[in-house]
């Protein structure tokens, strides 16, 4: 599904990623763990094509497509989704309007039929309800005045609606209490299937109690320094990063 080979990237004149290689097969869940400043969020941004993050060498393929050659929105159509650690607030743009515009743009790019208004409304309501997102929240401007937990739930809703092949979750657990974490994890898990893969970026093991990974990688100073099974996450939790990295 995702094939990253020897990826190097810079931001603000500094080399952040210094040779990341990673292979994710359909249906797999991989976790990237690592200390602050290891380059975890940068990896997410580089995959989604954030401006100012410059890839200096290496390749990324998603389902056979050269991801790095695509614009950010084309990457979404190709099946990538990044759940942001800090979703931006957009005053004046109602959440519902934004969701419809995004979903239909992606469907159109994928050659799928666009949703009509009533059927889309039904779809959103149903998924929103499962995530505990109220009608009132959907009417508000996107992310404006949302609590940390509400923003993360909104990211999860967008992920469910955009039906990615590979979802990258960037510190999705930060700012969530345990109940909200369970709701979000449940949403993420509902997406799991043989054709979808997940890349979970996290600093703590906590999230992995709810989204069980198949593989765990440790990112340190811009490269993967250790890989293993779920037990690696527990080891990190017990012994800390300095022990491994």
């Amino acid at each position: 599904m995702l094939q990253i080979s020897d990826l190097h990237a810079r931001y603000d004149g500094k080399d952040i990623l210094t040779g990341v290689s990673l292979s994710i097969k359909p249906g797999e869940v991989h976790a990237i763990m690592g200390p602050n400043g290891a380059g975890k969020s940068t990896l997410g941004y580089v995959l989604s094509g954030r401006p100012q993050y410059e890839v200096t060498s290496g390749q990324v393929q998603l389902a056979g497509q050269d991801l790095l050659a695509l614009e950010p929105e084309q990457r979404v159509a190709a099946g990538l989704f990044l759940a942001f650690q800090y979703p931006v607030e957009i005053p004046g743009v109602s959440t519902m309007n934004f969701l419809r515009t995004a979903v239909n743009a992606v469907r159109k790019a994928r050659g799928q039929a666009e949703h009509d208004a009533p059927s889309f409304l039904r779809l959103v309501r149903e998924k929103a309800k499962a995530l505990g997102i109220s009608e009132e929240m959907l009417k508000r401007p996107l992310n404006v005045g949302f609590s940390g937990g509400e923003k993360k739930r909104m990211e999860t809703l967008q992920m469910l609606l955009l039906e990615p092949k590979l979802a990258v979750l960037d510190e999705t657990d930060s700012g969530l209490d345990i109940d909200a974490l369970k709701v979000v994890a449940q949403g993420v898990n509902s997406l799991r299937g043989s054709e979808r893969s997940l890349l979970v970026i996290t600093h703590y093991q906590r999230l992995l109690d709810y989204i069980k990974p198949d593989f765990v990688h440790v990112l340190s100073a811009g490269r993967i320094v250790k890989s293993g099974g779920p037990e690696l996450a527990l080891e990190l939790e017990a012994k800390g990063y300095s022990h491994v990295a």
Partner: protein
């Protein structure tokens, strides 16, 4: 009223807009053709009235006085349109008095030819518990200045000003407001937005003045400008002049292009660059337009704004 004696930018209040060059234009004299449904100068019947100005390709001026009687609720739809193509220079003045408890919603559409010049002055006095709402969409004229002077003269008077300027090419639009809180417990709220492309220059000068003794006053003022081209220019001067202590007054101003981070976020959700831009510009503009209570005017202005955005943004 003579169209002569146009002020120049050497005066502080006109520093961003030099109207003296209008005076120097060699134009024939003409007169503004005014039509509409206003029955008299004193409005005693609730309802909706229109006031339409047709500006000839000449130098012209007009003045009008209106009074809204006690407790009467009125909507006034005012339009300024060029009667003929070509350069015209119109100076237009409207003086309005609201009696106790009267309510006026004033919708003003300035859609002159982009070769025209215009100086509009609107002076409003708002009496006890009366309420004045001004809404404007300005997209016309080569050089236009609208002066809005609102005096909140008695307890409980209220004013709101919501204006949108859409300017392109070499247009210059100036909105200058002065809100005088003369009495206690008066309220004003202003939201001014400029969308500028080409070499357009937007100007907003807004002064809130709270007179001595005008306690428990609330004056809010926000100016937002979106610069969509490298040569567009915005000049803002929001001013507070406060002579009473128990007040809540604030102003804010922001000038800039569309936020790159927000554009990226939208693209990371699958929107194309043009789609993301138009969504954001649309939201920027809508914040003004959605405040219009008259549905037909609202949809007309929305259509016009949409057309403008498609052509210029």
């Amino acid at each position: 009223m003579s169209p002569e004696g146009w002020p120049s930018n050497t005066l502080e209040a006109y520093r961003y807009t030099d109207l003296s060059k209008i005076g120097a234009l060699e134009l024939p004299d003409g007169s503004i053709q005014c039509t509409g449904s206003l029955p008299a100068d004193i409005l005693t019947q609730a309802g909706r009235y229109t006031l339409e100005h047709f500006i000839p390709a000449a130098r012209c001026a007009s003045a009008r006085y209106l009074r809204v009687a006690r407790g009467v609720e009125v909507t006034l739809v005012e339009t300024l349109t060029s009667a003929a193509p070509g350069v015209g220079a119109a100076r237009q003045k409207l003086v309005i008095e609201l009696e106790d408890g009267a309510r006026l919603t004033h919708l003003r559409r300035q859609q002159l030819e982009t070769s025209a010049f215009h100086w509009g002055e609107t002076k409003i006095t708002v009496a006890r518990d009366a309420s004045y709402t001004y809404m404007a969409l300005n997209s016309g004229a080569a050089l236009a200045r609208q002066d809005l002077e609102i005096t909140l003269a008695a307890l409980g008077a209220q004013a709101a000003v919501y204006a949108l300027q859409l300017l392109s090419e070499d247009q210059q639009g100036d909105l200058t407001t002065v809100i005088e809180h003369q009495a206690p417990q008066t309220t004003s709220d202003q939201l001014i937005k400029n969308v500028l492309t080409g070499r357009a220059r937007g100007v907003y000068q807004g002064r809130i003045r709270v007179a001595p003794g005008a306690q428990k006053t609330n004056g809010q003022q926000q100016s937002r400008a979106l610069l969509l081209s490298p040569q567009a220019e915005m000049n803002t001067k929001p001013e507070l002049e406060i002579f009473a202590d128990d007040v809540s007054c604030s102003h804010g101003a922001a000038v800039g292009a569309l936020d790159e981070q927000v554009l990226y976020y939208l693209r990371a959700r699958g929107l194309s660059c043009p789609q993301a831009r138009s969504l954001l510009i649309g939201a920027f503009v809508d914040e003004i337009l959605e405040k219009i209570a008259a549905p037909d005017v609202q949809s007309a202005w929305q259509r016009e704004a949409q057309t403008w955005l498609q052509q210029h943004a």
